[in-house]
């Protein structure tokens, strides 16, 4: 990847005051929506918009990496009754902090993207679910939404067309699980954030039993660009299998942590050494967690030539997740890190399914034993056994998210764990 230095950011470009509507429109904002609503030759019907987005292959930026346009095409034909778009800005995974940059610096890009999506799927109401702790970002969004309403960019007859859509902001109440798409719907309905059983999928029975699509904030923010410049432009950015700009959230022991918009498929070492300007205090790199705390940890030796895209990371034994990369230097206590991550998932398990409710707590308690020097090598095998009892046995993926760090951290750094444990010959089984 040589052109990253010359890459012009499109999601959070370096333009002062882009969070003001007039500035945003001056820089081409709302051209895409205008074209979609009025340019009958290019965009004859909503299906043509869906087709273009599908063609662009915007892989969902919330972690699952599913083609957004394909997801839109699952919506049943409009029947005149309400249909919803739920925008997921819950962003609670440790290590992930990209969406708030959009809320802060380019809120109208997201609102425009969501409005285009609403047009494409004949949506009647857009719900934007924002993490409750993002108090000031919620205020920024409230201002942006009210400005968009005043300018006729939301509400009735948008831009003079016969298309109307409402946008409702909803603040979360501090539960990580409400970032899971179906419990987000439950939460929007005013219920307890319990993930729903699938099927039926949200596109069949979503919010209040009506067809609903759930998209990540960053995913929708890519839509205006695709409409304006075409799917081919989008696909020309980054790697082929996972195209487009990515908001890399780099945190941890680097000199310049932060959110960087760069093409997909950036080499991990370039991100650490050049983008984030190297390890803090000249320490040696020990490991990274590539895409939020649930993605399996990768030791430094596996990072040479590794690029940040879904396929490459899967090949290396991890996942792209939200591209929220946590960098750890040689002084990091891996055992304690894992214990802290497990503590998080124990605290956040909603408690609906047995393996997750009980398993997350059990993992944390055993890890606490290991951290305090009470553990035995048998405990490590027990931990691995418990993860196999949790994975794939629950309604949502929180159990997997809790199990993977334990499984991969222990298997990839077993010697460090064993050094903290007393030997034991008692088998686990």
């Amino acid at each position: 990847m040589s052109d990253w230095r010359t890459y012009e950011p499109v999601l959070i470009p370096n333009i002062a005051g882009l969070n003001r509507l007039e500035t945003y429109r001056k820089h081409g904002g709302y051209d895409a929506l205008h074209a979609v609503l009025h340019d009958q030759n290019t965009w004859p019907d909503p299906a043509s918009v869906v087709q273009e987005v599908k063609e662009a292959n915007i892989r969902g930026r919330g972690g699952a990496g599913f083609n957004a346009g394909l997801k839109w095409s699952f919506m049943p034909p409009a029947d005149g009754r309400p249909r919803y778009l739920a925008c997921n800005g819950d962003e609670s995974e440790p290590g992930t902090f990209k969406d708030r940059k959009i809320f802060e610096y380019n809120p109208f890009l997201f609102i425009e993207g969501a409005t285009i999506a609403a047009y494409a799927m004949s949506i009647t109401t857009i719900y934007v679910y924002i993490r409750g702790e993002y108090r000031s970002w919620i205020h920024k969004m409230e201002k942006a939404v009210s400005d968009a309403y005043d300018a006729g960019l939301l509400g009735q007859n948008i831009l003079g067309s016969d298309f109307s859509v409402d946008l409702v902001l909803h603040s979360g109440a501090g539960a990580y699980i409400c970032g899971e798409e179906t419990s987000l719907l439950e939460s929007l309905e005013g219920k307890r954030g319990y993930p729903r059983v699938k099927p039926p999928f949200p596109s069949q029975r979503g919010l209040w039993g009506r067809p609903t699509t759930i998209n990540n904030i960053e995913t929708l923010s890519n839509v205006p660009g695709v409409i304006r410049n075409g799917a081919d432009w989008f696909k020309s950015i980054g790697v082929d299998s996972h195209p487009g700009p990515i908001l890399y959230g780099i945190s941890g022991h680097v000199n310049r942590p932060g959110v960087y918009e760069l093409p997909s498929g950036m080499p991990v070492m370039t991100l650490i050494e050049e983008v984030a300007q190297g390890m803090r205090n000249g320490k040696k790199l020990k490991a990274i967690i590539p895409g939020g705390s649930s993605t399996p940890i990768l030791p430094a030796k596996d990072l040479e030539d590794l690029t940040m895209d879904a396929d490459a990371l899967r090949g290396a034994g991890s996942m792209m997740g939200t591209a929220g990369m946590v960098v750890m230097d040689e002084d990091t206590d891996i055992v304690e890190t894992l214990w802290r991550i497990s503590k998080f998932y124990h605290h956040e398990s909603c408690g609906q399914c047995t393996p997750c409710r009980e398993g997350t707590g059990w993992l944390e308690k055993i890890l606490e034993k290991v951290v305090t020097g009470q553990g035995t090598t048998r405990d490590l095998d027990l931990l691995l056994d418990i993860t196999s009892q949790m994975e794939g046995r629950t309604i949502c993926a929180l159990a997997d998210a809790a199990a993977w760090p334990v499984r991969y951290t222990i298997s990839r750094f077993r010697d460090e764990f064993e050094a903290r444990c007393k030997p034991s010959l008692i088998p686990v089984g």
Binding site: E348, G351, Q352, T354, G361, W362, K369, G392, V428
Partner: protein
């Protein structure tokens, strides 16, 4: 018709049944906790896991794809599936724990997880003995636990409402109770609070769980988390007898099970009847234990002088002879005979025959309908269990005014069950100077005001039938012995472990729990002998048979048929319909 292969056996099916339902209907076992046939399936206990696959078909030809050995290829689902919410499809292959070790392991794993924070206090838990968690752990669970760290502590003995106590540590978070209040009773009083292994059901702050159906959650709870405040720590399940019966606290005719030990009814639980109450009953119906156990009339009693404050015990012979003397010394026109919608068809029938043969009059009755107290579910306006029975027998229905007039004109009144004083229809003043012979079960105000009380068996001491508001005739079984019945000789009575293996001298036996009362039809038979008639009935069945030959609607109605069909729907004639 679609086909499915479960553990190597092919079954055909119609429609889209849920897999768990279907497997259970084939008499196979799949363990589950959160699933309940009449509520939604949240699939949260993760217990009913099965391995599911589908035969691969060629898209073009529609033929099955075959592998090297010529067997049909199977595409397995990547994960184990919960069978409770799995729609059955054609060409599905299912492996349960009987044929698949992975499924067996999954059951073991889930049970291990459920048990790590469960207090394992079975020895002091009310649920022990009828606990799905206990049973399934024995059947499918791990041999021991590998959990060697501290258990999660949660609130204990929380009084959720007047009748339900919560032990949150025992809760396995199946959400059956919250779904019951959301979907069945629709009071929405319960919810789950807190997250992860700290969560448990509770009410909203400042409110209590006083749903009129709240105690159904106790039956639903697959562990001992929700227990009955009243029954808590009273008895072990295996010490009790379980006898089918009916809820007689209103006209719905809810089917119940009566749980007795040493001839005391300790609790009442609903019995499944898809035609009447499904799996549920009212809390009021469970309160009937007090009616059956406490303040019972035992041994006839007589007021020797009108000014005496209390009645004195009498012998049965003396009571009968006194009745005869009173009746014979009175002008038949000044005698009033009252039947009761609280008494069974058999009792009212025998009563009617006695009255017609000896007193030459048709008994009358009053209904007890409270308009507006029904809720369209199990609470109904009719507060008596057998109003339709009285109608069917053709007893004379009286309004309050007509009843008061008849009482005022009568000198001698023979009445059954009803407590007119408590109901406010009569004052003690109004019956001063009258001779009131009361045939009843409890020390009601009526009994206290009567001249002569003759104790009769209550609904849990005899076999008799009741016709509910929907005109369904259903019957009871004897659950309690009287002084004159014997559990070992009466083949209709259930015999619990203690009855069978205990002896008369065991410390748990108390003869005082047997009430000195007789079925009304026996009393009527004994009385009629004094007049030279022989209305000899030894059993409710004799009365029912006799009524069957007189009343067309009851023709062919037998206890056997009621048992087989969960009660029989009668067709009452137009006139009777109209008069109701």
């Amino acid at each position: 018709m679609a086909e499915i292969v479960i553990d190597g056996i092919t079954y055909s099916f119609d429609g889209k049944p849920k897999l768990l339902d279907f497997i259970l209907s084939k008499d196979k076992d799949v363990p589950f906790f959160c699933y309940h046939p009449s509520m939604s399936a949240p699939a949260n206990c993760r217990m009913c896991m099965v391995k599911v696959g589908q035969y691969v078909k060629n898209r073009e030809t529609g033929d099955y794809e075959l592998d090297d050995q010529g067997e049909r290829q199977i595409r397995w689902f990547p994960k184990l599936q919960t069978s409770c919410n799995m729609d059955m499809m054609d060409d599905m292959i299912v492996h349960t724990h009987e044929t698949d070790d992975l499924v067996k392991r999954a059951h073991k794993d889930t049970l291990e997880m459920i048990l790590i924070n469960h207090p394992l206090d079975c020895p002091i838990c009310d649920q022990a003995g009828e606990c799905p968690l206990q049973i399934q752990t024995y059947k499918y669970g791990p041999e021991g636990s590998r959990f060697e760290v501290k258990k999660q502590h949660k609130p204990k003995h929380v009084q959720l409402g007047p009748r339900v106590t919560l032990d949150a540590e025992r809760c396995i978070n199946c959400t059956r109770c919250t779904r019951f209040t959301d979907e069945i009773s629709q009071s929405h009083q319960l919810t789950i609070t807190r997250r992860g292994d700290k969560n448990h059901p509770t009410t909203a702050p400042g409110t209590e769980f006083d749903d009129p159906y709240s105690m159904n959650t106790i039956d639903l709870c697959p562990v001992g988390a929700l227990t009955s405040t009243d029954f808590r720590f009273k008895a072990r399940v295996w010490e009790m007898n379980q006898t089918p019966g009916l809820d007689i606290t209103n006209g719905k005719g809810v089917n119940v099970d009566l749980w007795t030990r040493d001839n005391v009814v300790l609790r009442i639980t609903p019995r499944h009847n898809p035609h009447v109450n499904e799996y549920w009953m009212t809390d009021k119906g469970r309160d009937a234990i007090h009616l059956y156990n406490e303040e019972r009339l035992s041994t006839p009693a007589i007021r020797l002088h009108p000014k005496d404050i209390s009645l004195v015990m009498s012998s049965w012979d003396n009571a009968y002879q006194t009745t005869q003397e009173i009746v014979e010394s009175t002008d038949p026109k000044q005698i009033l005979v009252l039947g009761s919608p609280y008494a069974s068809v058999e009792e009212n029938g025998a009563w009617m025959q006695f009255s017609e043969a000896i007193l030459k009059q048709l008994p009358s009755y009053t209904t007890h309908i409270e308009k507006g107290s029904g809720d369209g579910f199990l609470l109904v306006d009719d507060q008596a269990p057998n109003t339709h029975g009285c109608e069917l027998l053709g007893l004379k229905k009286r309004t309050k005014a007509a009843f008061k007039k008849a009482v005022a004109e009568a000198k001698v009144i023979l009445s059954l069950h009803d407590d007119y004083i408590e109901r406010g229809w009569l004052s003690e003043e109004e019956i001063k100077g009258k001779t009131w012979i009361y045939f009843g079960t409890n020390h009601t105000q009526m009994a206290k005001a009567a001249t002569l009380t003759i104790p009769i068996t209550c609904a849990v001491e005899h076999t008799a039938s009741y016709i509910n508001v929907d005109q369904r005739i259903q019957r009871t079984y004897p659950a309690k012995e009287t002084k004159y019945t014997n559990r070992r000789l009466d083949l209709e009575m259930s015999e619990g472990r203690l009855d069978r293996f205990g002896t008369k001298f065991d410390h748990w036996v108390n003869e005082d729990h047997k009430v000195d009362c007789k079925p009304l039809w026996e009393i009527v038979g004994d009385l009629s002998l004094l007049w030279g008639h022989t209305l000899s009935y030894r059993h409710g069945r004799d009365v029912l048979d006799a009524l069957g030959s007189k009343i067309p609607a009851l023709e062919g109605v037998t206890y056997q048929a009621m048992d087989d069909q969960r009660g029989l729907l009668l067709t009452l004639s137009e006139t009777q319909e109209a008069s109701s």
